[in-house]
Subunit: 194 residues, 2 copies
Amino acid sequence: MPPHLAPVPLDKAYRLINHGPTVLVSARHQGVDDVMTAAWACALDFAPPRLTVVVDKSSYTRTLLEGSGRFVVQVPTVAQLAQAYAVGTRSLAIDPDKLAHAGVTFFALDGHDLPFVEGCAGWLACRLLPEPHNQSTYDLFIGEVTGAWADTRVFADGHWHFETADPRWRSLHHVAGGQFYAIGEPVAAAGDAV
Amino acid sequence: MPPHLAPVPLDKAYRLINHGPTVLVSARHQGVDDVMTAAWACALDFAPPRLTVVVDKSSYTRTLLEGSGRFVVQVPTVAQLAQAYAVGTRSLAIDPDKLAHAGVTFFALDGHDLPFVEGCAGWLACRLLPEPHNQSTYDLFIGEVTGAWADTRVFADGHWHFETADPRWRSLHHVAGGQFYAIGEPVAAAGDAV
């Protein structure tokens, strides 16, 4: 387990993606690992924590995800911009050395037979909730979160700390092509007591 | 139609929400209008443009949306922070003057019998694609975008211009309670030609 990694309570897991970041989706099946970029990921429920992610039929990661019924949704950072762009534009089916070329390194977490991408800000281990109609008609996958972790240098005590962390920890929000916005500054509604 | 409002080509409509903003969902049915805040909205397809949005069973807006089969997904701004928080925490079922109390004003667009929230940065008029299983099991609604518009002071030529617009035009990205992040600065992967 990387230093600075800490578990996130499942009732706070949704907060890792509540602000709409572009994510990396990774999966493992029969000894093959892959990871892809997905701008279309979204929280779906608090308890149990669930999420949706759109994964195109052309994606090799989809084959792995459907084969194993497990995947990881993780939040890449500005420091990983080149990597996030590379794994979203190259396919393992075409470039067998995709992961090395993109500079991706996976790490393991006990009890989860899944590839976790090093350097991300947060990780959500998911179990696929099979919904064949959604998957075939809309490329829409629903995952139930079975474990969540974050790097304490940017997420701690159930909250992001983008405003005090190094700017290279900011999440990426995809526009098109290789263009992204980084997340910005906090704003709060008057009278909010949270 | 408000000044500065311009249509967005449908093939670029997904870009209004691709970076993961919190949105306002409005609907009209039998003469009643309502609007609510939704952090869990996401693009689903490019062509035809489709999106998902999670709308809780306790929401009055959901009743209207299910009744008419139409809704608007719009992108509120930092200038609308108090309004976005207010319409997400008050229900029309409890406060019949919710809209006035939150300072919401609707405008009309020819050919769309829908309430569009003034002051937003972008608007997506949607037709509900009925999926009863998703709606009842997951509170998940799928919309097909039938029209898109943006305020040209912050979105033009198919792109957001947050970095040159007044900071009050930045989109909101919900954390929890009344806490949000504003979208931040653009970053681009090296070698991107888009």
